[in-house]
């Protein structure tokens, strides 16, 4: 009721202003308090969202100081004792941490080399299809796995590769080949995880590239055809340059998140037999921090991860701006 009154009260003062009833210049002269009083519903609306960000984003960011403290539950974020860089030193000298860091980097590298180009190739192949019905069918099918959770993907992988009833195991025995313990074998773990990632996300990630492809002006292709360029040449000189901005931006984001290999993706496939090759920073943080309650050292790992990511992002972006002229900012 009162909000309705507010707008009535505000009305006559607005009308003399020609054109837009609410113009920036007019409000700039108004004192802030008066402006807020007049438009209070708008400020009330944003409060819940801002409160959420404050509590669940900003406070945890400030709470990261426990990486430099010996956190305990009773003293909390503020009163716990300072220990400086002690946890970081512990990490740097611990062999287990170095192994996990290495695992993370290797899996991330696999993702960049194999999983990153897959949707680009898929989009290029789809782009060459002229039968719309076929194209739509393929798209519907390859997008579908994106909507399955990682727990379900694990379940499906189990049904494919389990040594008793797995589909692949059956096929192998059909050809008198020995079964592969794909889900337990350390030597296959990284392939399995990255492969599952490609299976789940390749189609979905292709959407962005397909959208970028439709943005390429047809006149460029016409000009190339007039010059006698073959389809292959058109791909090299028209399509790929057209895709370059999208490719560069997504690659930059991936490199910036190089230590983020996907918690759920790794966690569901991980078991004690594959810890040696598959334990990554996020899964280790989960087990050490949340299961074992080692809050401070785990926060140090998290902070280390964010800082590396940020530094990488900034430097790779700079490099990319220099080489390709494209960047995030």
């Amino acid at each position: 009721m009162s909000e309705r009154k507010m707008s009535y009260v505000g009305l006559p003062r607005k009308l003399p202003n020609s054109g837009r009833s609410i113009g920036k210049e007019r409000h700039a002269r108004e004192p802030l308090a008066k402006f807020i009083r007049k438009h209070w519903p708008l400020y009330v609306m944003v409060v819940p969202m801002l409160a959420y960000f404050l509590v669940f984003k900003y406070i945890p960011l400030l709470g990261s100081v426990i990486a430099f403290k010996d956190y305990n539950i009773f003293d909390g974020f503020i009163a716990s004792k300072w220990v400086g860089f002690q946890w970081f030193e512990t990490l740097a000298t611990e062999r287990k941490f170095l192994l996990i860091f290495r695992n993370t980097l290797i899996i991330s590298l696999y993702q960049i080399v194999f999983a990153f180009p897959a949707p680009i190739i898929l989009a290029l192949l789809l782009n060459e299809v002229r039968k719309t019905a076929f194209k739509r069918t393929v798209q519907t099918l390859v997008y579908l796995p994106h909507f399955l959770s990682w727990a379900l993907v694990y379940g499906m992988a189990y049904m494919m590769f389990s040594t008793q009833t797995g589909l692949v195991t059956q096929l192998l025995s059909h050809f008198d080949m020995p079964p592969i313990h794909l889900l337990q074998a350390p030597e296959y773990f990284r392939t399995l995880v990255v492969g599952a990632g490609i299976w789940k996300e390749m189609g979905w990630s292709a959407i962005i590239f397909l959208a970028a492809l439709t943005g390429i002006s047809p006149s460029l292709y016409e000009a190339a055809q007039l010059d006698g360029a073959s389809r292959w040449r058109q791909l090299l000189h028209v399509t790929l340059p057209g895709l370059l901005p999208a490719i560069v931006i997504l690659l930059l984001l991936k490199v910036g998140n190089v230590l983020d290999v996907g918690f759920e993706q790794i966690y569901v496939f991980l078991n004690p037999l594959t810890y040696s090759v598959g334990e990554v920073l996020d899964t280790y943080s989960f087990r050490l921090g949340i299961i074992n309650g080692e809050f401070s050292i785990t926060t140090a790992i998290g902070l280390f991860k964010s800082i590396i990511g940020f530094v990488l992002l900034v430097s790779v972006n700079k490099l990319s701006n220099k080489i390709t002229g494209e960047g995030l900012y």
């Binding site: 309705r4 707008s7 709470g63 426990i66 099918l141 390859v142 579908l144 499906m156 009833t165 569901v268």
Partner: protein
């Protein structure tokens, strides 16, 4: 020269269709295998006779899962989380985005920076966990709702859409004496249905599929969601218990794999059945994010 190149082109086309056909096949096989397994007899499964079509079609597997009370408990928990969390998400996103879509709003720049900063600098897992813990949310449904109450990225998608609404219309409503809250409910939301539906679907599927949240925040087995339920069913062999319990009362003997496949099918069914109808909303949503502001 012309003929030669078109021959090469045709070879490529054939090759292209074959490759894409194979990719689609590989995308579908694991899903199809589980679906046909869910409807095949345990005898066929244990003797490795089930490939990509059902053998000895039966509903026993599905029936047993439907009769399992722990399955329903997990399903009910998941449904509650999806409904409550998505509602909270939408309210916060729409009301958060609307004021920010007004370029003349004072403080807008600050609010935007406040938002974008959280997308660039993300807090580590543990401090977030400690905040959730100190708020007393652990082991409650709210641990899956409040810590993910709104996504900054979705707010930006939403406010970009709101900006395209005709401002004259909103001003006219104001002149007619409508308050801002009623303008949002009666004018902005109905006019923005494409983005609203897209975000709603994104949020809902995210909650349905979420695994990390429940894993971190819920220890109580009575509160587990479907995703936790399925994962422990398969990785910890909990399906053996269900089979053993069923063997006591029924004459049928089922193998764990049959139960697991039936559970996977039931947990995936809502999404897969809904998917063809809402696919376009998802695709639009996925490309919306790629627009550089």
């Amino acid at each position: 020269m012309r003929i030669k190149s078109s021959l090469g082109g045709r070879t490529f086309d054939v090759f292209n269709y074959v490759i894409l056909g194979l990719i689609s096949f590989v995308s579908l096989v694991p899903i199809l295998h589980v679906v046909v397994g869910a409807f095949s007899s345990s005898q066929a499964i244990i003797h490795n006779r089930v490939f990509l079509w059902p053998v000895d079609v039966t509903l026993d597997n599905i029936k047993l899962v439907v009769q399992t009370s722990t399955f329903w408990k997990a399903a009910w928990m998941t449904i509650k989380v999806v409904v409550i969390a998505t509602t909270v998400n939408m309210v916060l996103t729409v009301f958060g985005a609307y004021p920010l879509s007004k370029s003349w709003l004072r403080g807008r720049k600050f609010f935007m920076l406040f938002l974008i900063f959280t997308m660039v600098f993300q807090a580590p897992m543990i401090p977030i966990y400690l905040v959730v813990k100190s708020l007393g949310l652990l082991n409650s449904l709210w641990a899956l709702v409040i810590p993910s109450a709104v996504s900054a990225f979705n707010v930006i998608l939403c406010l970009t859409f709101f900006r395209s609404l005709p401002e004259e219309l909103l001003d006219a409503a104001k002149v007619d004496g409508m308050g801002e809250f009623r303008i949002v409910a009666k004018i902005v939301v109905p006019l923005s249905l494409p983005i609203i539906v897209t975000l709603l679907l994104f949020y809902a599927v995210g909650h349905w599929n979420s695994y990390m949240g429940p894993l971190m925040y819920l220890n109580d087995r009575n509160l587990q969601t479907l995703q936790l339920y399925i994962y422990s069913l398969i990785s910890q062999g909990n399906s053996n218990d269900i089979v053993a319990a069923a063997a006591g009362e029924a004459s049928i003997t089922l193998v764990p794999a049959a139960i697991e496949m039936a559970t996977i099918v039931l947990a995936t069914a809502p999404i897969v059945l809904l998917y063809p109808f809402v696919q376009n909303y998802f695709i639009k949503g996925a490309t919306l994010g790629s627009v550089k502001e």
